[in-house]
Amino acid sequence: MPRMSFAAAVEAALEKAMAEDERVITFGEDVTMLRRNLFVRFGPGRVRQTPISEAAFLYAGVGAAMAGMRPVVEIMMIDFIAVAFDGLLNAASKLKAFSGGKWNAPMVIRAGCGGWYGDGGQHEQSLWGILAGMPGVSVVVPSNPADAAGLMLSAINSDDPVVFLEHKFLADYWLDYLGGASRDGVSFDVPAAGAEGEVPQPLREVPMGAASVARRGGDITIVSLGVGLHRALEACETLAARGIQAEVIDLRTVAPMDRQTVTESARKTGKVLVVDEDYVGFGLSGEVAAVLAESGVSAGFARVCTEDVIPFARHLEERALPNVRRIIDAAEGLARMA
């Protein structure tokens, strides 16, 4: 299997879909540069530069999808979807229900997400909790190149709207594009195993709604995704040295959530820690707790999430995000609980 960067894997999947299906198009701000390889291959008709008019072009994506296209709409960073929420919340997500199941909007909303590079609280959010809370929307957050390619294919082939989030620490061009990689003295804790890895050829779909087990263990279950997963795996090394074997579940898809994989592991370990870069309240971590309760699993529960507006200063930011130290502390506390 060839090794690919996360970014190259996503692009390969999109390129494959565009080559095989004329209806797949992509548009967003600066795509001529950001997706220059696709632009050179498919031209400005199918790789379209947009004005900074997210409300219009996201909703236009809904219309194009209703009329038979399969648009991949880029919202540069997921934070910016705030100005374009209506197309997703009140249109794309509701179409199937409103039309009595007769009509659907097969579109992908693709965006960078996440922090750890000191860009402040308007550019570093995760927001998958808010997005996944809407009925009718799937949200995927891959943590490695193989999943990124496979989930992008599934997202494009899905008949319903999918939000595809690529963490800026995994899709490496982001840090470069934002200028951060062009100077000395600044380093980022990029998870190497997520930014590059083996990708099966030919590319294969990874089904949405299927979690994977990233590490086996019997003492405690850690549920995570995206960069949080890599932080959790790093924490596992220390935990193992202290005699705690954690099982780590990579959710891969926030919605629909793989309830079975989560509950099976929770039954085995009896202790669940959610590591989630998104906000702590009313989101993914609470959802996992609800899933456990509804399944009749009684498990110890803890969560390491983002609790506040993400600070700009890097040392404050590091403390605010689910860092390895916080994960170890929470996991140990949970594991030692009777």
Partner: protein, 341 residues
């Protein structure tokens, strides 16, 4: 009323040296994240804000530092904020895109277009609670296609809000040539909302000053908003480390990285489209050369132009003064940082 050229020049020089100080900190790795400088916009900011009075409000975009310097916000606190220090203007929480100073009624946001609705709200408060005060909104040409900004034009026009909308038109939004994604002409677009709209050369501080004088007088008199389109430039590209400028500054490295996937895309099958593909590749090359060309060849420096208005001797004296102030602020900031480090 006549402009005070020396005062204008001093303000412009302060902004320039301040931005250069930020650039230095960023390049040394002290300032994290993205860094958008307002170099090239000094004449627009100085010409407009020369009319600002105490009690007026400021609503800013991601290039917020020059207006805040002109407004008199403590430079040392801003530097500390931009390097992520808890003694900074906003406790290290905001950073350079999210600077706030309540005593100056000044706020900023990194969300493109949002400075306009915020200014409308500042204007509403002024209209009701302190008639005669004005709200200034600064934004770019790219922001002029953001829905909430156009809605704000309408809101301000129909409510007759005392807002001066200032579009700093540097012709680009990151790597997008604004003309290619903007229908019609921005001045006429704003005028069609029923407010006076003027286009000025934003590299000439005296021209900006004059146009702003009319807009501000109108707002203070309670006659409603105005729009100012000021053409300027962005010699540092979109942000520091701008990939398009790096293609100029370190072409070999960039070409080595960028070429292989592009060649592969060019040669992908079916090959029939090769001629069009060459055309598309040419477009990318055009964007890169335009950005670089603008920076290296055509950009007039607003400071050099303003220096001519005050003469050699005065411009040197004012530059020294401004440089001294910024240097002291920088030293002070780094010292304060050391103290609690």
């Amino acid at each position: 009323m006549k402009p005070n050229f020396e005062q204008l020049y001093l303000q412009m020089a302060r902004m320039r040296y301040f931005e250069e100080a930020l650039a230095g900190l960023w390049h040394r790795g002290l300032a994290p994240g993205e860094m958008h400088l307002g170099v090239g916009e000094e004449a627009v900011v100085a010409g407009v804000l020369a009319h600002l009075q105490h009690g007026d409000a400021l609503s800013l975009d991601h290039r917020s530092t020059p207006p805040l310097v002109a407004r008199g916000v403590d430079m040392s606190s801003m530097i500390l904020e931009c390097i992520g220090d808890e003694a900074g203007l906003c406790g290290g929480q905001g950073g350079h895109m999210h600077l706030f100073s309540p005593e100056h009624l000044a706020g900023s946001s990194g969300i493109v277009g949002s400075s306009a609705p915020l200014a409308a709200g500042f204007g509403l408060a002024a209209q009701l609670m302190s008639p005669g005060k004005v709200a200034f909104a600064f934004f770019g040409d790219g922001a002029a296609n953001q829905g909430m900004l156009l809605e704000s034009f309408n809101l301000a026009a129909t409510w007759k809000l005392p807002v001066v909308f200032v579009c700093k038109d540097n012709h680009w939004a990151i790597t997008t040539r604004s003309r290619s994604v903007t229908g019609g002409c921005l001045r006429k677009r704003a005028a069609s909302f029923g407010m006076p709209a003027a286009a000025v050369d934003g590299t000439r501080v005296e021209a900006v000053w004059r146009a702003a004088a009319r807009a501000v007088a109108r707002a203070r008199a309670g006659r409603g908003p105005s729009f100012l389109l000021a053409r300027c430039c962005r010699p540092e590209g979109h942000f520091l480390g701008d990939p398009l400028l790096r293609m100029f500054r370190e072409p070999v490295k960039q070409v080595v990285e960028i070429t292989p996937p592009i060649v592969r895309a060019m040669m992908s099958r079916p090959l029939g489209a090769l001629v069009s593909r060459c055309g598309y590749l040419g477009r990318i090359g055009m964007v890169i050369s335009r950005v670089g060309g603008q920076v290296y060849i055509t950009d007039p420096d607003p400071l050099a132009r303003a220096a001519r208005l005050v003469g050699d001797e005065a411009s040197r004296r004012l530059e020294d003064q401004a440089r001294g102030e910024v240097e002291r602020a920088l030293e002070d900031a780094l010292e304060r940082r050391e103290q609690h480090a």
